[in-house]
């Protein structure tokens, strides 16, 4: 049915949850764009036929109606002049035909716009998901887990990369402006204010050795450490370390 394909797309956009995204539905997007293109050619045909019909009518009933031949352009409205009370039956039939086509054009036109809206909404929602995912990975687009990146379209992977670049440009610019000699610790958790200076962490994945202010620490999987929050916070954010007993 008309508009069903777009509806499916919109429904899929709605299914996106905080931690789950369905695979990019290229097939469905293609179907919708195809339908849209088809409807557009139909509209063009109809407008053309409408124009000839109006022209014919004007020729036959010269003084009868004043349908501007430019009227059914682009915006197929219902602006049928009220004085179109045809005198003979042939003319009223032609008139009905015109009204019919007009209504159909209007319907198609609305469907076109709806299709476009659904497409936009679908892509917008997915981009939104990607953005919040990137923030949690503190903008390392290469850190997107393989299970997720499989579900993204090539375009979306580009988008993720570009977004990350845009954002880090901004961060660098701000740091240069506000604290040229220091860093703002962008990698740290943005949601919760820091409570303790030191935190106890358990290593989930091997991180190798890191250099802290007080020396080198070897972060082997399974070990536990008591460290400066700012030294290891970025590792906690991306899930290499686990924060034990956060207060």
């Amino acid at each position: 049915m008309l508009g069903d394909e777009a509806f499916r797309l919109a429904k899929e956009a709605k299914d996106i949850a905080a931690d789950h995204i369905p695979a990019y539905n290229e097939e469905q997007v293609r179907l919708v764009t195809q339908e849209t293109r088809y409807l557009w050619t139909r509209i063009e045909e109809m407008i053309a036929s409408l124009n000839t019909a109006v022209a014919n009518q004007q020729r036959s009933g010269s003084s009868q109606t004043q349908l501007g031949s430019s009227q059914p352009h682009g915006t197929p409205g219902q602006q049928q002049p009220s004085q179109s009370q045809a005198a003979n039956t042939q003319q009223s039939a032609a008139q009905a035909e015109i009204e019919n086509t007009n209504a159909q054009t209007a319907l198609y036109f609305l469907t076109l716009n709806r299709n476009k809206r659904c497409l936009l909404a679908y892509h917008h929602r997915r981009a939104q998901f990607l953005r919040s995912l990137l923030w949690t990975l503190h903008l390392a687009s290469s850190m997107i887990p393989a299970s997720l990146s499989l579900r993204l379209s090539p375009e979306e992977q580009n988008y993720a990369r570009d977004y990350a670049r845009l954002n880090s440009n901004y961060r660098d610019a701000v740091e240069n402006q506000l604290c040229p000699s220091d860093s703002l610790n962008w990698a740290a958790d943005g949601e919760l204010p820091p409570r303790d200076l030191f935190i106890e962490v358990r290593v989930v994945k091997d991180c190798g050795e890191i250099v802290t202010e007080n020396g080198v620490v070897n972060l082997q999987a399974g070990t536990q450490h008591y460290l400066h929050r700012s030294d290891v916070e970025h590792l906690v954010t991306i899930g290499y370390l686990e924060h034990i007993n956060p207060s």
Binding site: T36, N113, H123, V174, L184, N185
Partner: protein, 266 residues
């Protein structure tokens, strides 16, 4: 209400003084550059109202203390905290607190240098302090970025909003709009008929493709300096807005008061 009756005279005279002061304030605001709007130093009117508050027997002691505190010159930190809370609760983007941020980061720099010469314990405390300030700055900037992303297209088109963004933010917004547009164009828009490729169309019913902040959203606000009688759109009689009163109202109604710093969002 009975307390008000007994103080009507005092209130009236205060209001008179206050009106004069508020026009002064506006003139000062208009004169100063929008980026450098200094925190409103406690004006005469504020002090008058404090004494008024102190006269009142019903006013709990705690409130008075709070009043006193707020009447002092606000330091950059509390300015930023207020800007941060306002930013988080308001539907539209607010003025960028550029000067405050710069001052604050200078202090942080100073603190960091001091840390090197201190004992470990003291240095740790200072570090904690620095970390917290940085968190605040980060969160403030990030909140603004999130809001910019939401309505980027509208913000870069509207001169008033453009002036509220910092240079970096403006570039970010432009880059973001470009990025978003490129993404949808490549994904599907270029495959649609040419007539349907616009991204800033306005539909016949007035439905626009460019989203705007909802200025009628409900917000909670607290009165910082007594406004006096204020005509809310929805209510018939004007409502007296006094310091520390809390209202829930439409954002558009208190928008100007917020800009003048007379109320704060919570």
């Amino acid at each position: 209400m009975d307390t008000q009756d007994s103080f009507t005279g005092a209130l009236d005279s205060n209001l008179g003084l206050y009106d004069g002061d508020s026009t002064n304030l506006e003139a000062r605001l208009a004169a100063s550059d929008s980026m450098d709007v200094e925190p409103q130093t406690p004006s005469t009117s504020v002090r008058i109202h404090t004494t008024f508050g102190a006269d009142e027997a019903e006013e709990p002691a705690l409130d008075q203390e709070e009043d006193e505190e707020e009447d002092m010159d606000e330091d950059d930190l509390s300015l930023l905290v207020r800007a941060w809370v306002n930013e988080r609760s308001s539907p539209e983007i607010l003025e960028y607190e550029g000067a405050t941020l710069e001052n604050l980061m200078e202090l942080v720099d100073f603190q960091t240098q001091k840390m090197a010469t201190q004992q470990a314990t003291l240095a740790n405390i200072l570090k904690m302090d620095v970390d917290r300030v940085k968190y605040l700055v980060r969160s403030y900037l990030r909140t603004r970025l999130a809001k910019i992303e939401e309505h980027a297209r509208h913000y870069i088109k509207d001169t008033m909003y453009r002036e509220r963004l910092s240079q970096n933010e403006l570039e970010y917004a432009k880059g973001y709009v470009e990025l978003e547009e490129r993404h949808v164009r490549r994904s599907f828009l270029d495959q649609l008929p040419p007539h349907l490729r616009g991204l800033e169309d306005v539909a016949a019913e007035g439905l626009e493709m460019v989203s705007k902040p909802d200025l009628d959203a409900a917000v909670f606000c607290r009165v910082r300096t007594t406004v006096g009688e204020f005509q809310f759109e929805a209510s018939e009689a004007p409502i007296v807005m006094r310091r520390n009163n809390i209202f829930i109202t439409r954002y558009s109604i208190i928008r100007n008061l917020l800009e003048d710093g007379k109320v704060e969002l919570i």
